[in-house]
Symmetry: D2
Subunit: 352 residues, 4 copies
């Protein structure tokens, strides 16, 4: 279980890192959306490995094949299935460590859970699964036209963007909105890579012009659903909305966003709520940040044990990302698209 | 929608702050669990208002009535329904502000969503709904015997606990594991209360002796489910696991938890993962922190608008908590119980 | 599990025949529907025991209490909880047979399933649970205004209605649309009752003016959902749509409903499909029939065994219905309302 | 929506009759089941077209490709995706009737629902979708070892099997357990085929040695779930369990199955309940019958209208089955496997 996300726009993913293919089936796609293969492929290209010197060199083109649900470039209301075949899977590196538990990886947890594991490339726990989310998000995007999800690398290691220029994001290999910081981040990543190490970071998301009223008041609050969506991405270890962890130190009079009205439009003077109040979008920008841990796969030697509990050393070979932020940006962006599309559909149901 | 949580241990809640009653229906409770009324009531008492000088003075005893699913103090496999009648609802204070949007509250968002709202005491968006979660969590607890969820106030304003003594938690009114810090926190809360203001904080949770293998690899990762559960509590604005936001600045070699084996038991030297790897519990303590914003209801005057957009001032009267941490501790604890009980049941399904 | 029905209009029921109360929580009720207590109570009165000489004499008024979700006689979008307290439960008759398996009842099956059972009045397996469905159906009805679900007793024993006059249905105690047949049915029921026996029957449902396009093409076909809804009522042992089991003997050229157009409106000359084609409502009347077995509780002596497997005789005392049709008519009608309301909401999601 | 079936063993299907491929994703498959490609392919071969003179001549081999979830012939706990590419789709026959509504088909209903339709071969409403169910059922079967689902053609037109010899079923092209009746059925089918017509029938299912305790007491009764599963197959118009529609004419004393005990095993003398009591399997054989309407596609000329409402004649060319029973037998059998596997998993959750 656990391979489906969403209530109305339901995304199911399948496939393993070194299996035949990965893919997604999306149920609940409204009929009549215009979706071309290129609409999806262009988003896939932003996530695929091998796109720069700061990403994994695995040479996958991640070319999609649409199996169902789209007829003459329009969705039909039937489930949309999209697959990507694995072309450059190289399992040889995994054969030699199939009895070792890689630190930071789910090998040990998987074995405990299932009593077995597909050790090749991490199997189902591989970050490669996120390509399915990008494909689904590219379809979700068609449902929330008028709204724009902008994600970017805010921090790598201890280097933080100091200015936010959305126009810069896609111009540098780390997807940072601050040109100067971007350069430093690239250098830092290259340097840890040389050491056989890796580095963490923070991604920030701003949703411009979100519809009002998204999210439900109790368990399916919009922020709760976004939190689940984002934490379901492998390397994410935390999320905060608006003033976030900083809210601990604030008084109500400081943290409350007071309302004002201008030209007939009600708005708030501050946005400490991050655009979500009582779990429901207010219409202000939705703002959140997610922390991404350093990739667990490093060539640097680490202590570990094998599946008999015997102590040993491990150096994780393979073609890995030294920092996940650049490629996680589109993944987080598209998981957000999926949550929003789902919430937009849900909102069709709430009034008599 | 959005009033049900969990896949196998399914908790549905209903009721409004100033309505007839609130309650929960729990479906999926295994037959044969020993559950007495007192088992549930004692947990409710930890959450109820009026328990100390740092909580809301509303005098609700929150006495439960079990309507179904328990026969001769044993669960029968039928859904368990538990209700609590509202006794001390005082809607008079709300009559005068029913056309105003309280800053920080969901009034405006609700109106946009539903085209109407039950303004009395926040209606469905009230924190009073969380009593249902405590009742359900008290039942959930019976499924995860052997595991102990410990929650406590780590921080109030900028005062942070410096030592963690679990034995202290229930001894002070803020539920802080550090006696000295607790006193400072109490003073701070009393002081903001006098100003007609309120204050935020951070709650930390440690799950001792969790089963291994809980959580699913992709969307229903254990941390993703916990994040959703915790963010679905009204005032929570962020969550982080293990090294959390600090992981941004760490290298893989620093953040990875290396394995070792002792007396035949595999463990990790550090616990930066917070007990969850690849979305699956490893058996190490599960550790996370949630930030709680300051309560939105303050008597201090704030700027706002009415539902026609007219600017005005508001002072929110009523019987409110000056800091949510003390009463949020049992709520967060029991939402965690619910997630764990659900995951424990899920785990019964994964092997042939 | 298994206590919730519906995807968008989600009805959860709880409670046992001889417990404190039974009730329903309905999630997904759109905000702004006008619903009074009387709207629901009047439907409950059609189902309650003791309404005529052909129904159980248990004297329950089944008075509802609305706990949540309705404010000033309008739904708010919050879950609606309605409960009915058991007033006339008499468990004394059950004490003496608590170790016996009543033929036709679920006693044996329950014990095997749960390893225990609440033997009082059948516990959760009692037909009394259906009162919750009527309450929920009364709310569902508000969503499908313009459509009318008409249910009636078509057959009791081997007596079948020969004419269908909807105006007659509520005028006789068996709810048969044929006045003459109704009298014969009443006599038959009284006669089997005197023998300490009971009798089966068939209920037919006609949905007038259903919306077009309800139901989904694959698993959630409208007829599949209706079948599940109706078979989930205790005594129903079969269902057929349109030409039903008679279709086995028909050729395609006989069973196909050919299309014609009149005054710009497309219709079919026959309605062998029962108003559902490919799982989707066509706009023609939806027609189906459900067979209701004779009540299992009879005073006539039967052979059985106790829970140790020892052979014995049993005579089931208590206050039982000699024929379920009269009271099953409103239950089936309201389960149909629930399915239709759910499908009407689903239909809001299918187009871009 | 509506493309997923099951709660724990979750089968999602996708694909259109004349699209690129059809397939299924099964989530919730326990890890460690031995499943070979041949295990699935052999079941597909029983359903594929072109297998005899009484089935459609479309020459599809329906060769499966397993994309995920199986590693070294064992399930891994990850979702299993199986696809079949369409090889012999011939859409030319559909081009000319793309504006006509075929009587008995869902063309008209689809257009009303979605505002558009994929007219090629019925698109998503094609019976070809059922191949996905067979693939999923072949996996489900691995979960219910010890139990055997036997389905067969009981009736074609008005010819009914008079003896039930399971050994005969796979020996004749109609899958009838009565050799003599089978011959008559074959002749009848060939004769209606020559007339350009088609014919209906009845399929009976007997589940030998089912586990006790399957099904839930209220909405998810085992018979309700089976009814939904079977009615979700395109041409099925009714279902009955045990004594079925015949129960209308029976008294309680006739229809109740009385218990007896033999060699320490409790059983019932009759099986009018069809093996399900109160929605829960008793351990007796589960028995039900489904009526299958005649295929709607006939070359015989029929009256219809086009999408402008203009009256016209239609003769449906293409490669169609003259009677669905032979190929529906494995489909119904595997839908039953799916329901049982799901219920078997559900049963793991009910006891403390």
């Amino acid at each position: 279980m656990g391979n489906t996300f969403g209530r109305h726009f339901r995304v199911t993913t399948f496939g393993e890192s070194h299996g035949v293919a990965l893919g997604t089936v999306i149920d609940g796609v409204p009929a009549g959306l215009r979706v071309s293969k290129e609409d999806i492929q262009s988003e896939m290209d932003r996530r695929r490995p091998g796109q720069s010197n700061v990403t994994s060199p695995r040479t996958e083109k991640d070319e999609i094949e649409i199996l169902s649900g789209i007829f003459e470039e329009k969705t039909t209301g039937a489930p949309v299935c999209i697959i990507v075949r694995n072309k450059d899977a190289d399992s040889s590196k995994y054969e030699q460590i199939k009895h070792l538990f890689r630190p930071g990886h789910a090998d040990y947890a998987f074995l405990n859970k299932y009593g077995m594991r597909d050790y090749r490339g991490g199997g189902r726990s591989s970050g490669r699964e996120t390509l399915c989310r990008v494909a689904a998000g590219a379809v979700a995007k068609k449902i929330i036209t008028g709204t724009k999800v902008i994600a970017y690398t805010l921090q790598v290691g201890n280097i933080r963007a100091e200015k936010i220029d959305y126009g810069e994001i896609e111009k540098n290999s780390v997807r940072c909105p601050d040109k100067t910081a971007a350069k430093k981040m690239e250098k830092l990543i290259e340097s840890v890579k040389k050491e056989g190490d890796s580095i963490g970071g923070i991604i920030e998301v701003v949703v411009k012009n979100p519809p009002q009223g998204l999210g439900d008041p109790v368990f399916d609050k919009l922020d709760a659903d976004i939190a689940k969506a984002i934490l379901s991405i492998g390397a994410v270890k935390g999320i905060e909305f608006g003033s976030g962890f900083g809210a601990a130190g604030l008084k109500g009079s400081e943290n409350n966003d007071s309302f004002y009205s201008k030209a007939g439009k009600i708005s708030t003077r501050t946005n400490n709520a991050g655009g979500i109040s009582g779990g429901i979008s207010t219409g202000q920008d939705i703002i959140f940040r997610a922390v991404i841990k350093a990739p667990s796969s490093i060539t640097k030697e680490q202590s570990t044990v094998d599946d008999k509990g015997k102590a040993t050393k491990i150096s994780v070979e393979g073609r890995h990302d030294p920092c996940l932020c650049p490629r996680a940006v589109p993944v987080i962006e598209h998981m957000t698209n999926i949550v929003l599309a789902d919430a937009v559909l849900a909102q069709r149901l709430v009034r008599a």
